[in-house]
Symmetry: C4
Subunit: 278 residues, 4 copies
């Protein structure tokens, strides 16, 4: 509560999710672009991706450890004490809630590391752990908003909405063949989650030191429901910009090496593409 | 509020969705009929569809721009002002809500244009943007109905229901192979949405200038729940009529050129068809 | 209201759904059994099924017409009058609700007839119309239960639950390859719906003329929630019994003609079967 | 009520689900490991699995019979009496609710036995019965929590949540190709359900004889929402440990017989694996 109950406590997970979203967007688009080029260097890039995924897992574990340690050992934190037997009450339950959320994302990181080192582990395990982490986050936030004020509840409900939606998408990916479209939808929702954490921080704990928003004004609720959509529009724009940039990068790099072949390939590809559209 | 809060403000988006629904119904049935004929002219029609899709995107962008400009610069509109610092309150939030909805449909139009010009863009991107636009519309309408009267809330809830359902269908299409049946279900829901917008206009702002409906009478709620189903029955009938007409048109056009072959084809097709039924 | 508001008004649709459920169960199991036998007579049976499906459509249309005419022209019914301009109020809205529900099942019947006569109609259209009819039924019943007493609301909510579930299953079948398991799940829910209509009739309008149940006793609610499960257990048992009987019938009929071959086939089939289980 | 309304009444189904979860986890991982090894002994293991599945069905039937008989004939139980005509009231409805839940799991056991003995039964029938049993359990528990105290309601709602989620997953498996990831997700939720039954027993009827928890303290609700997540984390860890152990066991057993070939196989497998990741 002490740690999360201020601007930095919302900016930290916000940045965490935003960076994760940006990285995944780049990764998926890169993979898609490489696959379309079908070049020899593709195999090299595969090994590269393998190593990148391990690094991804390590970074996630590092980030969640930072979050967990910050929650627990910040001055005023619970210091791993769950129940105060003297006073007969729970110690800092809000901190323990944040601890739980970080922990499940930590499990995702560990699974990522294991998936990229142990051969016999199915690749969809990481997706399962991602879906689990998101559902747990949504569940905890949903039980987090008891007894707060209207606007506070509303912004956290929107957070639950985006986290739950992302979880549903990750869950659906377990059943169906994944596609670049669904993957980018998922990463755009991660960007939304990240920027919305920042927005919550700005609303509840204005870093300028100015007065907080009026938590009981219904007009603020109405504005924030629009603002949420604008955040999402921004997230889509960022994904679009990355798409254009990465596709251009991959194309230009390949055209330098074998300009004629790629031209032929392009024509060959055009057909199945438009077939798919039909 | 000024712009949308009258009959024309509901008739405009209603017509927009209705025309879109009619056009998509024709497009999907035409594609299906051409595919079944498996003719040489199929390739020509493909180029035609490509161009039609670009035109579709341009029309959607034009329509949404009309809506956005109408919302913003109508006398009494917000004129792009979001916050009135003098009076310390938000300016015309309802108008900004409509702006947001139009904006996401505008994104769909832009994606359509890009998909039909840039080769490397996956075709399912348009479907994703459609799903996004519908979910955003449902979300905004859901946060739109605060503090209104019973009947007003009820008709808008039905609108949210149909918009959300359409969004779910577009979302499901991301995961599964699309089929003519699902596509026509989607377009029939678009027709429903369009005609329901008109119905709302007639209920809340009767153009005849007569008295509005009694917004607190529960019998009106009951009637409108039936009326909503009748709108849908009408939408299904329209889709059915278009199906009959387009299929007849494509068949008659082909029979003129090669009457004997088509007859043979018909018999050949009968088998896999009934196989599928098993 | 007059027509449906008694025991017969619930027994009629109950019998309608129950008979439909029984017939579909037999049809799907027969098809499955024939497919497994892979015999020459399979083609004959195909033509037979084709004709059966047309008959099915005609029967459905006939049943719904009976329901519609009964609702409208029963003494005290609305006689196709929707609004009483003299008294300024709606006429018999409950009857019009029932009319709407019957109408959508009528559309299903018409689609069935068209599907089995017109070649170019995709077979999944019937499934779409079934899904539509069920969703409309659930929607209307959901808006049907305003201002009633606790037990009355509860039994109708359970009806909405089963109708909506059946609709969801029919809807899912549009996206995924259908299987005998899902088809039998759907028909078992139809049996449940049919028998539950009878149960509602017995509760609200005891045909023995005895006193109705105490509509405000919470113990009755608890019992009916269990009773609902028992109805479903019975439906499952009926489907199971039909499965055993039909499979035995098909097997015995084939063994009579070519006993040795079938024996060989059985062994050949055993392998892929157990493969699937893995 | 008498039987279930104590610690043992919650420990019994808890152990039942926990053991089932452990067994299924082992079974699915074993099958997956055998499939990856693609060895001759695979066919032998198939026969073994067949027999194991029959045993599984018999054990489930035995367990549910124990539960049913315990509910009915425990001193103070209903002894198969449903309605007390003398006092004009239902007899022990809570016991009948538990009876219903056990009964549907019994149906699952019977289907398991039939599936592994009768060849013509589709393998997905067991999955359907599992889904049915879980939905019925969630439905009954949902109608079980009327008029209790806050914490009591909350822990039972969480139970409904996990049971319903498991049902949804089993239902989805009817439509999509099943995968080891989804199967392990399902079994981990079974472990969670089992351990949560124990947790409920400890909260409502502390076996130590000490005072029960304060059922009206909101801090307890908050703690239990975290505790629920920790139960799930434990379930995931158990599944992970079983995965490591079983995979190691299968590998070591095969390496003993044909060490060189397996090494080759491993390299061959590495490629498609990482392909899938792309």
């Amino acid at each position: 509560m002490v740690f999360m109950g201020n601007f930095k406590g919302h900016a930290l997970p916000g940045s965490f999710f935003f960076i994760l979203g940006i990285w995944w967007t780049i990764k998926y688009i890169l993979k898609y672009a490489f696959k379309k080029q079908k070049r020899t260097s593709y195999l090299d890039s595969k090994a590269l991706f393998h190593r990148a995924e391990m690094l991804e897992g390590i970074v996630i574990v590092g980030m969640t450890l930072t979050g967990i340690l910050g929650e627990q050992f910040y001055p005023g934190g619970p210091h791993l004490t769950l129940y105060d037997y003297k006073e007969g009450q729970w110690v800092q339950l809000l901190s323990w809630q944040h601890f739980t959320m970080y922990f499940f994302f930590g499990l995702l990181g560990v699974t990522n590391i294991l998936s990229s080192t142990v051969v016999s582990l199915p690749a969809s395990f990481s997706k399962l752990m991602l879906s689990n982490a998101l559902f747990v986050e949504a569940f905890v936030f949903y039980n987090h908003i008891h007894g707060r004020e209207m606007l506070d509840i509303f912004v956290h409900k929107l957070l639950v909405l985006v986290v739950f939606s992302t979880g549903v998408i990750a869950f659906m990916e377990l059943f169906a063949q994944t596609s670049i479209t669904v993957e980018l939808l998922r990463t755009s929702l991660f960007l939304l989650q990240g920027s919305w954490f920042w927005q919550i921080g700005f609303i509840l704990y204005p870093p300028s030191g100015g007065p907080a928003w009026d938590l009981m004004d219904h007009d603020n609720v109405m504005f924030l429901s629009i603002c949420f959509c604008w955040h999402y529009a921004t997230a889509i724009s960022i994904v679009g910009a990355i798409y254009v940039f990465v596709t251009w990068l991959v194309k230009s790099r390949f055209t330098r090496f074998c300009p004629s072949e790629v031209g032929l390939l392009k024509n060959a590809e055009r057909e199945p593409e438009s077939e798919e559209e039909m």
